[in-house]
Amino acid sequence: SAVISQKPSRDICQRGTSLTIQCQVDSQVTMMFWYRQQPGQSLTLIATANQGSEATYESGFVIDKFPISRPNLTFSTLTVSNMSPEDSSIYLCSVRDYHSYEQYFGPGTRLTVT
């Protein structure tokens, strides 16, 4: 199974600032995903991070607000830009294992915007 780490694990940020979240996987993976979990809610897919090309964003999420980088097959970053309190959520990185069909999640980054 893939082992995923995320940094930071949590942060408290001021309105209007930006935070970059890192996701590191212990093996090469083709598909990486970023999800958001708002307090008390389910998970919503933000985007698919594609290696070597731009990320693919879901409806309601835009690149200017959530720029994503994917420089190689083991690493990705998600930036939450110009933050507002509504961005307070847990942000989770996820990868798909093509051999087992499993989809694994990182430990998450708990973001609070004040």
């Binding site: 598909m31 995903f33 389910s42 998970l43 919503t44 897919l45 698919t48 879901e58 989770l92 996820s94 798909r96 087992s100 069909y101 499993e102 989809q103 694994y104 999640f105 990182g106 430990p107 998450g108 708990r110």
Partner: protein, 111 residues
């Protein structure tokens, strides 16, 4: 657009009892995932169901998939306090790997 519904949203049950969580999805999907989430934690993978009629069991949890009915169930047998958590089902949109999650079922086991 794929929609995934779970019920119940909240479930409070006594130790030792049996219960089932239901997961319905709206369009064709060839797999179904079940996850567990403890408060303040990430998601732990429980089961991946890969075909119609698939049944998987781990301890007191058993999951099944009926692709024709677009229904998956997570059955809890003789519940114990350690099973208290939120359980999510998720289905991939047909043809890609994007998971759509259900609303989650918050399970509380009462001694």
């Amino acid at each position: 657009e794929l929609k995934v519904e779970q019920n119940p949203l909240f479930l409070s049950m006594q130790e030792g009892k049996n219960y089932t969580i239901y997961c319905n999805y709206s369009t064709t999907s060839d797999r179904l995932y079940w996850y567990r989430q403890d408060p303040g934690k990430s998601l732990e993978s429980l089961f991946v169901l890969l075909s119609n009629g698939a049944v998987k069991q781990e301890g007191r949890l058993m999951a099944s998939l009926d692709t024709k009915a677009r229904l998956s169930t997570l059955h809890i047998t003789a519940a114990v306090h350690d099973l208290s958590a939120t359980y999510f089902c998720a289905a991939p949109n047909f043809g890609n790997e994007k998971l759509t999650f259900g609303t989650g079922t918050r399970l509380t086991i009462i001694p």
